[in-house]
Structures are given as structure tokens and as C-alpha cells.
Symmetry: C2
Subunit: 242 residues, 2 copies
Amino acid sequence: MSDTMAALNRKLLEHSRLTAADLRAVTTLNYTIRALDPNEDLIRQGDDPSVSALVVSGMLARYHLLPSGKRQYISYHMEGDMPDSQALFIEKMDHAVCAIGSARVALIPHVQLLKLFEARPFVGFAIWRETLIDAAIFREAITNNGARTKVARLGHLLCELFYRAKASGLTDGETFYMPISLVQFGETLGMSIATLNRTLQSLRKSRTVELQRGTLHIRDWERLAKISQFDPAYLHLKKAPR
Amino acid sequence: MSDTMAALNRKLLEHSRLTAADLRAVTTLNYTIRALDPNEDLIRQGDDPSVSALVVSGMLARYHLLPSGKRQYISYHMEGDMPDSQALFIEKMDHAVCAIGSARVALIPHVQLLKLFEARPFVGFAIWRETLIDAAIFREAITNNGARTKVARLGHLLCELFYRAKASGLTDGETFYMPISLVQFGETLGMSIATLNRTLQSLRKSRTVELQRGTLHIRDWERLAKISQFDPAYLHLKKAPR
DNA sequence: CGGAATGTTGATATGCCTCAACTAAAGTGG
DNA sequence: CCACTTTAGTTGAGGCATATCAACATTCCG
């Protein structure tokens, strides 16, 4: 049995209830592993995906590429996430996905997933739920960028990444390795890099959080969450009755 | 047979292929109609939804309510849309949905939808696709608010609303009735109402678009789309091979 | 017809983007 | 392992865009 698919099962169990038979069916999925260099694209805007990727290690990000060449990062994805289940029923990618640091993904053909969903609807529902949680994360990003102060905006993103990592057991105590550059944070939050840096200084000064060389360290979670108006309800990380 | 569910079928056929049997199964769904006054909430943040709403007439909007009482509007939904299929597999609403102007919705119990999806997986896939298109709209909103100029930002939103309305046959030539207030536009696009108004003036001056008393009139679609960097690819309104 | 909601415009202060210079860290090849 | 190059992060100065506040006009609605 596959450790890789076992990781997917663990992820699905973070929010969904599945029977032993469902879980067993998931482990029968075939896949191939692909290694990605830092900043390498997994898939580009306009591509027609026929496989879905499951993050095995490292981190991926979604982004839009604008006519000017400017990037807008949309969301980040870590071990156990399936970032392009978003593309399962879609012909042409409206966004690209790239690696943040080195990463490894398991590629699962869409046809296999569809067959599995027909045979075991509740597995489909679990992955559907996964895509809905992604959508909730997108909504929160809209609100974050539209309605929060710069400090809360950055703080909120850091809270979200840390909370999700912790829920998946990827943190080392209060520390999480997450090699997102300041430029990328800027292109996520709609801030210039200068302002982003100064905003980060301000968070540092508040002694709630430390971030250097890709290592995020939470010094005072309660206060950081308060500063950032972070309420994890939108991540829906509770198991639902089936 | 129900006209209301026929409207849902039309919507699903905008992007998905379904068999006659699938379509018939959809029309057997039971529902109740609910009328909404302008600005009335259909569902609030924190509620536990047990029904999904299909917009029968008028317009709905999703929004986040911040601790300060400030609203952030997330997206708008018109006839044929199912805005809270987003909540199908989720316990607690992370956002609210309200009416923009008067509206009527058909409420369909989740249990019925789930049974339908088990019996007819491809109907489920079509509605899943619908939720994925919503997610693509959210992503575009992130980029719109984060990376575009004020003029492009407003123009892009108007383009999207008009394009979607037209695809659903809801426009009257180059005109669409859409009673969103300037305050609401501001709370959608992260601009103050003063700036929003001046941005609108600027669009008016460019003679591409007119907007008054809720009526959107497109005067020069090509130029507006260009100004706004609007590319409808992200709406995925093409039928997919099954 | 009167009151409330919505839209419009002007003046002001400031927060942020832009640009630029510099430092520190990481990666590369001899 | 060290010089070199490249990339990432940091800080400062200046000017403009936009949030904020306030006054007013218009439209909507009972």
C-alpha cells in the first residue's frame, strides 16, 4: 500500500468522514512522482490538465500572470493538498501553479479520479469538500486584501499558513519552514516590497512573529491572531457527520 | 415539470454536457420558493445551511462581515446561479448571502441534492463544476483587487457581470439591470466611495460604459474589455466533452 | 410632499508606491 | 574553501493617489 495515498487519506480525514472501504479505494489510485525545482511551474495558464497533483513534499503556489508580466499569487499549498483538484472539471487552466522551494508531487490521472468518484461517491464528496475549502480560502483572501490594514493583512496570511500547517502536522513546535520570498508576499497581498518589508518589521516589533530565511516562528499566537483578526472557522477543519 | 428547475438545467448546460436522463432527474427536485426584499439576508455567517438556493429572479451577493461591522462583498449571483452550492459540504457558513434589490430563490434541501448526486454522478459533476467556476471568479477577484488599477478594477467587474448576464440570456441588448449601489461597489473593490465615484466618472468619460440607477449600459465592449484587461476564459463557459 | 438613502464634488492630510542606494545571504565555479 | 556573481532583503527620500471628512445634490419611497 502506498504511503503517498495514505497521506491523501489523512488529509481527507481532517475534514471528512470516510469508511474503511472508501479509504482503501483511495490507496488503489495509480500515480507518478514528479520533482520540482524552486520556482518551476507545474502547470501554466492555458494548459489543459489531464492529471491532478497531490503535494508530497514542499510547497506550491497558484498565481495569475498578467499581460504586463506581473504576477498575482492566489494561494499556497502544502503537503497533502491537491491544488489542482480545482481543475478537475475544467478544460483550460485560468491560473498557473509553481513550486515554492523544491517540491515533490504525485500526479493522478483525472480519468482515474472520475472512475473512483462514480464508484465511491463519498470519496468524491470529500474531494469536493476539499475544493470548497480552497474556495473559502480564496474568499478570505479577497477580504484580506480588500478590507484589512497592511499589518493585519500580512499577519492574517501568516496565521493561515501556520494554522493549516499545524492542522496537517507539518510544524515543528511553533516553527514552520515555508520559503516564500518577500517579493512573493508582496505579490500575494497587493503591497510593494518596500511596504511589505516595513509591515513585517512592524510585526517583528510587536514580538508576535519572526520570519527569516523561510522560517516562520510564532512567538505569541493569541496576540498575532488578534492583531490579524484571524478566525480559523473559514478553514472548516472539522469532521462532518456523514 | 418545473420551469424553475428547467432554468437550472439551462445553466448547467452552459458549461456541462448532460444526458436527457440527467436533465429529467434534475426536474424532479423538490423546492420551495422564497421572496427576498432588497438587502435582506438569505443566510448569515455562522448559520448551518441545510438547503441550497437557486436564484429564480433578481440578484444575490456574498459578503463577509468584519468585526468592525464593515462589509466586504465577495461576488454577485444572478438568475440560474446556485450561490450556496459553495456550502453543500460545509457545516457553518463562513460568509453571508443577501439580496441586491428584490429577488426570488428556490430552496432545495441538501439531502435531496446528495441523493441525486449518488444516483446520477454526472449531475453532481456539473454542479461541482459550477462551484469550481465560482472559485475561478473568486481567484479573479483576488487579482482584480490586488493587481489592477482602479479604472481596470471597476471595468473588469462590470465586464464580468455583463458577460455572465449575457451568457445566461439576461441582458436586453447592451443593457443589464443590476441594482448594486456605489457603496457596495466600493465594498467589493476595496475603494472608498469617493474614489469609486471618480473612477466611474473616468469610465463614463471614456464613453465605454454607462451606469445609473442600477442600469448598466455597454457603449463600447471592445474598448472596455481592453481597458479592463478582461479575458472571459476564467469563466469557463464552454461545454465540456463528457 | 417630506425624509431617507444614494450619489456627487471639493479640500486636506497621509500612507504608500516609486526609485535608488546599499547590505546581507545564497549560489557558483575555480 | 574562497572570490565572485546573483538574488534577496533593508532603508531613505520624494511625490502622488486615495482615504477621510464635509457639504451638497439628487433620487427614491412612503
